[in-house]
Amino acid sequence: MMLTRFLLEKIDRTGWIFLVLLALAAVMVPVLNLAVPPGSPFHVSNTAVSLWGKYMTYALLALAVDLVWGYCGILSLGHGAFFALGGYAMGMYLMRQIGPRGVYSHPILPDFMVFLNWKELPLTWWGFSSFPYALFMVALVPGLLAFVFGWFAFRSRVTGVYLSIITQALTYALMLAFFRNDMGFGGNNGLTDFKDILGFNIQSQTTRAVLFSLSVVALMIGYLLARAIVTSKAGKILIAVRDAEARTRFLGYRVEHFKLFVWTVSAVMAGIAGALYVPQVGIINPSEFSPANSIETIVWVAVGGRGTLVGAALGAGIVNFAKSWFTGAFPQGWLFALGGLFIVVTLFLPKGILGTFTDWWKRRGETREPPAGKAVGQPAE
């Protein structure tokens, strides 16, 4: 009860609209997909369910990025690494579930290990047949990596573009590492051909609908958590770090502790997003680590509105919807559009769609309420 109060009391109007819409989606989409016959105009197609489910996990990733970038000024060009690590942890569980149904029918080893002529399961794969253990690793691996990385980086006061570049180096190094067959994570091909999750067939429409709803619920919880963090007292300090790091430090706050906290939380969120992403798309491979993916995540947040949380999720949805549409209609045009979006948003919409819209709304209702507690501050260094 206390926790619910704590989580809910800070939600503003935009947040409520967002949550209600998400809750509706979590219930209605599976119903419209499973219960309404395909001929009906209200039917939601199977492809739409998995596509939207994918968007929801992207939105959670964007939320995680916004938490560190929008509120703490840490521009991470490597959040895709945490997303992919979470995804790999889930993928390893799903690989173990295949059991003897693989192409080589080996009772324990996944196909690619049989192919590489390995005789026994490497240490890293132990325990992944258990779902709770896999879930634990989904959170632990990205969280631990972020904690260690952040511990060193923030303590040495690596900031600004330097931090951005080493986060990029991090994800690039991981990409190269996961491409190696010797790493034991499927190399170039990654992990795929999943059969079932917790005993449910991963291809069945019911499983997919449930995964969709779970992704929405994860997004809602992620939002509540992020919102609770940024509106708390610690959140105020995070914003202070974003806007004037040195000054905050001189006021006596241990800046690196706050940064490390929010950085680790954000990485865990990204990892969970990845774990939900993998069963829905059915594959995880090293290209998820590519620096370009991480930078694309940044543009989702920038488009939606940096430092608004809801905007980040919205941006993920809008940009990816546009991507699906573009790659269908003008495959040549997508990179032009994405590149143009980067330029236009940074030049003309520094607050993103939601930020701009909120400003406009506030100006319209200036007399109604004073502009207090606004989430969007000055752009940080």
Partner: protein, 534 residues
């Protein structure tokens, strides 16, 4: 510096012709031997082949080759011998002159005894071939086969050989035969081992390693100690070779990163589109070559010198345009600049992809940049050497430009204190635009160089951008010497790690090292000191 086999061969051939006995006299000797082949008796044919091979006649090689390929025929009527050419026409075996009507012919037949005679004869013949490259190859072949039957021919060839390099090869071949031969006496074999040790390469090592266990103990000991010595020398050479590769990689990194060092150092702008400037430079080279190929094919060898200024101008102009249109509005917001320039890079990539297609474009390497030569056991390819020299020249030119010209002075003033520079009357906007243009132009130059060693594709720049950032961050921002040291350190470290860790793992280790290094020195090796940094 670059080997010109054609010229050397010609000179050597002339020498041979002048110095050897008059060929006409020998051709007289050859005639009855060739005539003897027009028979059905295999023993006669084999004998004739052996005699012909040692006759030194210029007709020996073509006739024996023809015999080997079943192209030697004789006319049944008068037993005149002809060679059937690939085209089907006949030439006289005695003179090599074409004949109009060969009449009814039968081929000279082969059996195994004849084939053996031919093989031995061919080895001896090529050892005395007028073409030095063929002689060298023949000596190498004997070195590897250690065929004792080649020894007489080898002795004869060594006596006649005038080219010191080839004579050494032949002596090594003889030494190999002697070492391997159980009949030779111990002292000779040990002397021969010394000759092989002086050769000191992998082949020598293999030769010494293959010594049979039946060899006398003293010979085996000598071979063993020679192997150890060779291995030690080879290890040193290998390290030198790796350092050389590292220097080569380092200069590529330097070329790619130095423009970035300028824009980042002076303006604090992280230009994610820098790699695309490199790519544009490479495509400029491609276009210049395409134009030259149709308009002035004679200029293809100097195409790179035409491409260099073009690439500088094209990339520089695009750089200035980007600065004026986009980056100018984002000063003081480095993270936003990073995102906007990433957007620019995507647009440029896609533009090039739509224009030139997604596949690799072929850029011709001029003849003076191909080929290789050896210094000791160090293999040096001409294109790598050219790139190292080019990188050094670009670096020196840039350093001079920044230290010795008024524009360089203004640039440095803006780097150190933008507002003060502005107060002194320097138009900082103008300096910014041209500095960005300069950085991009240098990226264009890098593109011309990289087009020679990498695939010219729309993704060319992507492959270098992360490495370039690592170099700049490692070396320290705003310091060209830092960039030089950073590039060379990373290049050499990468190549030295490669043999132990493999290419990918080596690279990962370096990335991890840089991530850790940044913790220790967040501003790089050579950080700017003073207030300007914050």
């Amino acid at each position: 510096m670059i080997r010109r086999p054609g010229l050397v061969a010609l000179l050597a051939a002339l020498l041979t012709v002048v110095l050897l006995a008059p060929p006409s006299a020998r051709a007289q000797d050859a005639a009855p031997l060739i005539q003897r082949m027009a028979t059905e008796t295999f023993n006669d044919i084999a004998g004739a082949v052996a005699a012909l091979a040692t006759s030194g006649s210029p007709r020996a090689a073509p006739v024996i080759e023809a015999l080997r390929d079943n192209r030697l025929v004789y006319r049944q009527a008068d037993r005149a011998v002809f060679i059937r050419e690939a085209s089907g026409s006949f030439v006289s075996a005695l003179t090599g002159e074409p004949v109009t009507d060969a009449g009814t012919t039968r081929p000279v037949r082969l059996n195994n005894a004849v084939r053996r005679a031919i093989d031995a004869a061919m080895g001896a013949l090529t050892l005395m071939n007028p073409d030095p490259a063929r002689r060298a190859a023949a000596a190498e072949a004997v070195f590897k086969s250690r065929d004792a039957s080649a020894l007489p021919a080898l002795e004869q060839a060594i006596g006649q050989e005038r080219d010191a390099r080839i004579r050494i090869l032949m002596e090594e071949a003889r030494a190999a035969v002697v070492v391997a031969s159980p009949e030779a006496n111990e002292a000779d074999r040990i002397t021969a081992i010394g000759v092989i040790q002086r050769r000191g390469d992998q082949d020598a090592l293999r030769m010494l390693g293959s010594l049979p266990a039946t060899a006398p103990p003293r010979v085996r000991e000598a071979a063993e100690s020679a192997s150890v010595a060779i291995r030690r020398t080879l290890a040193v050479w290998e390290a030198v070779q790796n350092v050389w590769y590292g220097l080569s990689l380092g200069s590529v990194l330097l070329l790619a990163a130095i423009g970035l060092a300028i824009t980042f150092g002076v303006m604090g702008v992280i230009n994610m589109a820098h790699g695309e400037m490199v790519m544009i430079g490479a495509y400029t080279t491609f276009v210049v070559q395409q134009v030259l190929r149709t308009m002035a094919p004679g200029l293809m060898d100097v195409s790179l010198f035409i491409a260099l200024p073009m690439a500088f101008l094209v990339a520089g102009a695009i750089g200035i345009a980007i600065e004026r249109l986009i980056i100018r509005h984002l000063y003081g917001r480095p993270l936003e600049t990073l995102l906007a320039t990433w957007g620019v890079s995507l647009v440029l990539q896609q533009a090039v992809r739509s224009w030139f297609g997604p596949t690799n474009r072929e850029v011709t390497t001029p003849s003076w940049m191909s080929g290789s030569f050896e210094v000791g056991h160090l293999a040096i390819t001409a294109n790598r050497l050219a790139i190292i020299i080019f990188a050094a020249m670009v670096f020196a030119a840039l350093l001079l430009f920044l230290k010795r010209t008024p524009f360089g002075l203004q640039t440095r003033a803006v780097t150190q204190n933008r507002r003060m520079a502005g107060a002194m009357g320097i138009r900082t906007n103008w300096v910014d635009a041209f500095t960005f243009g300069l950085g991009s132009g240098i990226a264009g130059l890098a593109g011309v160089a990289l087009s020679q060693i990498d695939n010219v594709s729309p993704n060319l720049g992507q492959g270098y951008i992360i490495d370039s950032f690592m170099v700049v961050v490692f070396g320290g921002v705003g310091n060209l010497w830092g960039t030089l040291v950073g590039a060379m350190t990373l290049g050499i470290a990468n190549k030295l790690l490669e043999p132990y860790a493999g290419a990918v793992l080596g690279k990962i280790l370096l990335l991890v090292f840089i991530i850790l290094f940044i913790q220790k020195r967040p501003r790089g090796l050579f950080a700017l000191k003073g207030r300007a940094v914050e």
